[in-house]
Amino acid sequence: MVKTSCGMCYGTCTVDVHLEDGIVSGIEGDPDSPQGYGNICAKGLSAPMMLYDPSRLNYPIVRTNPVKGIGVDPGWKRISWDEAMDLLTSKLKECMARDPRGLYTVGSPTFPAERAFNILSFRKAFGTPNYYTGGGGLHCGNGAHMIGGIYHASWSVIPDFKYTNLAIYWGCSKGHGAGHAANVAAKQAADAKARGMRLIVFDPFLSTQASTAEEWVPIKAGTDAAAALAMANLLVNEYGLYDADYLKWKTNAGYLIGPDGLYVRDKKTGVPLVWNTGTNKQDAFNSKGLKDMALEGDFEVSGVKCSPSFKILKEHLKKYTPQYASEICGVPANTLRRVAKDFGEEAKIGSTINIEGKVLPYRPVASIYFRGSQGHYNQAWDCMSLVLLNHFVGAADVPGGALAFGPPVHLGYPGTGKLKYSVEPDKDGLMVASNWPYAHLPYPPNEPKDPPQRLDLQDLFYIPTYTTIMAWENNEELWQKFKIPYRPDVMISFATNQIMSVGNPKTLFENFLKKFRFIASFNIYSTEFEEAAADLVLPDASFLERYSSATTFPTVGVSCHATGLGEWIWAIRQPVIQPMAERRPMVDVILELSERLGLHDKYLEAVREWVDRAYGGDIDLKKVFKPGEKLNFERLLDVIMKDRFGEDKGLEFFKEHGYLKWDKRVEEVYWRWFNDVRVPVYLEWIIRAGRKSKAVAEKYGVPDLVDWSAHTALPDWRPCPTHAEKDPEYDLEGFYWRSALHTYSMTMQNPWLDEVSQNDPYTYTIQVNAETAKRKGVKEGDYVWLENPKGSKARGRVHLTDGIRPDHVAIAANAGHWGKGLPRAKGKGVFFNELIEIDKEHTCPVSLGQDICVKLKLYKDGGARSG
């Protein structure tokens, strides 16, 4: 039996893998591990079927057909690893000589640890700023991570399942085998429900979470902000249900705002001012003598008229009447009222709880969002509006509230005190994260580069991790205007099927992928991406055949740690069997590449930087490695683990035990109460940051790169392009959701999961409201086309249900494969992403994330009808 971490999704549950005669004969959860509590999902259980799939890649292959394109036969030819490495090295050397920035690395969201150590570190060592995280970068979380980062120093939010009494889900799967920490949250949520936690789900679709909830509120896609802002309006302007203390001491609600929309600062120190109600004078927000401050009222400071930001926000919210919101979001005004009231009252503002001798605020409500509500044009403000509900009632990182998903505070492994990171205030009192997996922090804002260096112009902006710009139709024009001297050259892609996952595959290919001279991909299958675009495919060892450093840390950005009190766990992934055939761990290949390219030292430096930020605490790898010592992943792991956990806890320890766990402390879980950090209910700094970015864009003659007017301090609902669709033929709003049976597009090839999916009425179908279908003369099992106004189409079988809004259609996962390398997946389910546009109109102007909603017409396919 071997203990390792499951890699069928990024939940990374700890599993015990059993072998019989050298064959993986069974996988089960490790009962003592907090990472899964001994339970395991259908995907994890199906891992052997991926390991032994005869369609897996076993040898490096190169393209012989010089023509690339979707649906083109690449004419794969088997080559040796030596040839493959020579080829890749020479292409990279050429690229380095031309301009190292021409290298684009693309990594998987599923394997963050592998990605970090290799794709990210290699990228740094090589000297290119260009990368994105497969489809994930654009779909997952630009808006959600931005808001999660600013408000919780974390990737996302999740209810404190142990104490929450009322959770509102806005388009997210938290607690049923999909979504973040899938398996862990499933058990936590079940316990919470058994305890009596109520769940209200706003979702256009009676999703799994909605079907297990107390109440399903069918909301129109892309309108969550309107509903949430109406609820916020009710809370502060009508019901008076808000936590004034929290707002005063944990947010910038009291900061005085001048007519220019910016903080009124102390002339000398530059510190933002508040109105001290004791002295009836302005005061620094952090002044010692400050006992109370105004949240409302109009004041004058040195002749400048100003008001607390809360007052401005409160006024601003007034236009979001329940009636107005109802017209936008399709939820009855009374429902919004009832839910808002329920939420505000259930928050028990003012109450406290004693946990392990520490008295903490008790706010057992949580407003939780993710993919669904964030996948829209207005995603930054959608998420802000949703998270604001928690902050109004003070239900953030306190018992019962919305918790940072993967707490940003860890006080150190008890044995060594290492692995330590926390949050800190900046000079404006706002929270700065120290554990953050990406190049720049969520706050303070990134200074725009002048001119931008990245092909997606990310570094022109202050917040996004990636943008969609690299695939816009006018990208060449933009690169010229911004005087970017290099062009896409070599791409190294790891564990992502970009053709299927990013958006419209034709757009991505034509505008972006086609422009590369050479694309190498690490995958375990030849997917649609490799077939369309890759020149060289390297057969990776899959998760049961390789090492990974730490599958559960950093807690931020590795989307798996259990929320709330319990245990921390540092787990590794290790080979259960040796890589079959000529499969080779990508990890090792990258290290060899680094050596071949002479990047040894730079690579170690990049790893050090990563380990420092993500695993909390410095380690000088160059001192540890003897000069001339070849890079070796196992050795690297050993060094890092011994440094963090002590000499007796090196790789050998982890190979035997699989993981190390220790208790969480109250200060770590409910960290907000113990750290003097504030969050902005008024996003003042966005105004400033937005102006800077705009100035750079103007300088290079692209003043309307994005809609800069969205870079404001106050949340608003802004319509998606779909909301403005005039043609009545396109009467259905389309979106996707995650099935517990699948991880994006990678699991339809798995025969067990595929077979179960075929037998599930929802997984491979297009879910259409029964009445709508009747109106359109469509019956259960009919094949239909979905077509967007630009003529992009998707075909699939219909499943009729009453569990969806009549004006919406839903599609599960990312299916409908056509690649030759995935024979079993081929033709199963529905391919949604062809319907998504990648352009300015479908890009959030603030977070630069992808808008994935789309207006569709539905009509019967003339062809086969079965059933």
């Binding site: 259980l45 079907s211 067990w752």
Partner: protein, 204 residues
């Protein structure tokens, strides 16, 4: 066994856990999950219902089986002796719960394909043939091999929400008996007098 419908999320882990444990061939599902929908938009309810053999105390399958291949063990588990079954499928037709599966032949999920699947296929076949055979009927046996070793049935072990509890129904103090008592556990189709050994705790 007790299945808590309030906890169940229709994730199908039980379906696959059973497959992985017993290497049931394509088309054979000893455990499965059906989804029920009732009501009209927007007041609509969807419920997952995980199914397996109810291991009835008065099993219809056993009554109709002409060969005696279907037997009830003293511990209550109903088993099919694959060496005695002729594959007449009367049991499959008579079982009110659709718990029985017939497979005419051993097939492998990667049929006709190459290494390394062939090694796994051989392993699967070996496992399956140990428990069943071709041309016979098979069904959930409450993981009798695991239970005898003191382990939980595979589906119970896997279930992410811990909706499934396994134990001794005859012992009034056991966890299952207590759950049934406290949460008003119900059997499916009590009217047939099968006295099912799987109880469901209501979702609402």
């Amino acid at each position: 066994m007790v299945i808590d419908l309030k906890r169940c999320t229709s994730c199908h882990s039980c379906t696959v856990a059973c497959k992985a444990e017993h290497h049931t061939p394509p088309g054979v599902f000893w455990a499965k999950v059906v989804r029920l929908e009732s009501g009209k938009y927007p007041t609509v309810v969807r419920q997952a219902l995980p199914l397996l053999c109810m291991n009835c105390k008065e099993p219809e399958c056993e009554k109709v089986c002409p060969t005696g291949a279907t037997k009830k063990r003293p511990d209550g588990i109903v088993i099919v002796d694959s060496k005695q079954c002729v594959g007449c499928r009367y049991c499959a037709v008579a079982c009110p719960y659709g718990a029985r599966n017939f497979s005419s032949d051993w097939t492998d999920y990667f049929t006709g394909e190459k290494k390394p699947s062939s090694e796994f296929a051989a392993h699967s076949k070996k496992k399956w043939m140990k428990e069943s055979d071709k041309g016979v009927v098979s069904k959930c046996n409450f993981c009798v091999d695991r239970v005898e070793k003191g382990l939980k049935p595979a589906c119970v072990n896997a279930c992410p929400t811990e909706a499934r509890t396994f134990g001794d129904l005859d012992d009034p103090e056991s966890e299952v008996s207590q759950l049934i008592k406290k949460r008003r556990g119900m059997q499916l189709h009590p009217e047939y007098g099968t006295d099912a050994s799987v109880y469901y705790l209501p979702a609402r």
